[in-house]
Amino acid sequence: MDWAFLAISTVKIIGLVFLTILPMVAYSVWAERRVSAAIQDRVGPNRVGWAGLLQPMADGLKFILKEDLTPGHVRKTYYWMAPALTMIPSLLTCAVLPFGSRLFGEKMVIADLDVGPLFVFAIASLSVYGIVLAGWASNSKYPFLGGVRSTSQMISYEISLGLSIVPLLMIFGTLNLGEIVQYQAQNGWTLLPLWGEGLSLKGMLLAIPMFISFVIFTTSIFAETNRLPFDLPECETELVAGYHTEYSSMKFALFFLGEYAAMIIGSGLAVTLFLGGWSLPFGWLAPESTTAEVPFWHGLVHIGVFFAKVIAFILFFIWIRWSLPRFRYDQLMRLGWVFFFEIAVINVLLTAGIMMLPLGK
C-alpha cells in the first residue's frame, strides 16, 4: 500500500462522491420539482435564488433545523441504523463507475475492479436492508407493509436485473466497467452500434437483444430504486409514506437522498453499460486502449460527456415518474416474474444464437 495510491484515491472519492454526486442528488430533487411542475403546467420552486437554484440549500437547512423525533414505540438501534443503511450502499456503488477516461494519467474510476457490475448489484441489493429495517423497527403498520413490499419487489427485480446484463457481458467478454466503456468507444455503443466492429451485420443483429436488455434493465432499475411507477414501498396514497412514515428531520432526509443517490448511480450504470459511458459517438476522441495516454482536454471532455449522459438519464427518470401511474401490486409481481424473468432468459439464448451465426467477424 503506497501513499500515492491512497492520496489519489482519497482525492477521487472526495471529488466524485462529495463534490459531484451529493450536489447532484440535491439538484436532482430540484430538477424533479421543476420538471414535474412544468409537466403539470405549474411553476415549481422559483423563489430561493435565481429560478429557485438555492432551493436545495434551503431544504437542507430546514431538514437540519427540524426536530429529530424518535417515537417511543420503535426499536431504537435498528431505527437509527436504517437510514444509514439506505444511504451508504447507494454511495458505495459509485466506486466502480468509470466517470471519465484518464486525467493526469490516472484512470477516472475510484476502484478499477474486474467485477464491476457484480459489485454494483451486490452492494445495491444491500440497500433493501435499510428499507426492511426501517419498516420493521418503526413498529407500526404502514412502515411494516412498506418494508414487506419493498423486500419482495427488490428480490423479484434483482433477478431480471442480473439476467438482463448477461448478454452484454457475453459480447464484451469482461466484467471490468472501464474496459466495457473502452470497447463501446471503439466499436459502437451497445444501443447505437454505428461504427467500428458494431457496423457489421452481426453488430446490427446484436442490437436487437441489446435493446430488449436495455428495456428490462431500465425497468428493473426503476423498481430497484423504488421510483414510480414501482414506488410501492412508499406509495403515499395507500401507505401514508411507507417505510419512512415514522421518520423525521435528517433521518427522513437520508432516506430521501438515498433514493436519489440510487437513482443517479442507476443512471450511471445504465449509461456505462448501454450508452457508451464517457465516450463520444462515432469514436470521436476515443483512446486506443484502456492503458493509452489521453490528452488533458480529452479527459475533461470525457468526464463532461459522462455527466451529461447521466443528467439526461435522470431527466428520463423524472419524465417517466410524472407520466405513468403506479402499478398494482400483483401487476408488479406478474411483470417481474412472468414477463421480465422469462424474456431475460430467452434474451440470453437469443444473443448466444446470434453470436454463433457464421457471419464472419
Binding site: 420538471v35 412544468a38 403546467d41 411553476v43 419524465w319 407520466s323
Partner: protein, 176 residues
C-alpha cells in the same frame, strides 16, 4: 341488482401497454415544452402580480362601513347585521346621539362596531340585510394580522376601508 360492467376486450398491442405508455410520455412532454415556452402559463406570481384589476364586480371581500356625502355615518345601529351574521363576527354597541348633535334626529349610532375578521366568512348577508346601505363587502381580500386582537376591525378601521359613498347607493345598482 348487480350490474355487470363490460370491460373492453384489449387488442394484443393494447395489452403490451407500450403504445399507451409512449402516448402518455408524449402528452407529458408536450405539456413540459408548452410550459417552458411560456405558452401554457397560468400561474400568477402572487405577491408581485395581483389580480386586483381582474376582480369581478360581485367580489365579496372584507365588509366595511361607509359614510355619506356629509360624512355622516350611515349606520343607525339597528343591529340587523349583528343578528343575521352566521358566524357571529359582528359586535355592535349602540349609543344615543346627543340632542345638540347635527344628526340628532337619527336617534342612534354605533358606539362601537367590531367585525372579527377571523370569524367572518364573507357571506355578504350583512350587506344584504342592511336597511341603510351602510355596510358593504369591499374587494380587500388579504386581511392579515399577527395577533387575534389585530384581526378585529373596529369602527375606525371599517370606515377607513369603506370610505365615502355618495348619493343613494342601492345594493342592486351598478354604482355599488
Amino acid at each position: 341488482m348487480a350490474i355487470v360492467v363490460k370491460r373492453p376486450k384489449l387488442k394484443w398491442w393494447e395489452q403490451l401497454y407500450l403504445p399507451a405508455i409512449f402516448k402518455g410520455l408524449g402528452i407529458t412532454l408536450r405539456h413540459f415544452f408548452r410550459t417552458l415556452s411560456g405558452e401554457g402559463k397560468v400561474t400568477m406570481q402572487y405577491p408581485e402580480e395581483k389580480w386586483n384589476d381582474q376582480l369581478p364586480e360581485y367580489y365579496r371581500g372584507a365588509p366595511a362601513l361607509v359614510t355619506d356625502e356629509q360624512d355622516r355615518e350611515r349606520c343607525v345601529a339597528c343591529q340587523l347585521c349583528e343578528f343575521i351574521c352566521p358566524p357571529r363576527a359582528i359586535t355592535i354597541h349602540p349609543e344615543e346621539i346627543p340632542g345638540d348633535d347635527k344628526w340628532a334626529k337619527v336617534e342612534k349610532r354605533p358606539k362601537t362596531f367590531e367585525i372579527d375578521m377571523i370569524r367572518c366568512i364573507y357571506c355578504g348577508l350583512c350587506e344584504e340585510v342592511c336597511p341603510e346601505q351602510a355596510i358593504f363587502l369591499r374587494k380587500d381580500y388579504a386581511i392579515t394580522g399577527t395577533s387575534r386582537a389585530e384581526m378585529v376591525h373596529d369602527k375606525n378601521r371599517l370606515y377607513e376601508i369603506g370610505g365615502k359613498r355618495v348619493g343613494l347607493v342601492n345594493k342592486w345598482n351598478e354604482l355599488k
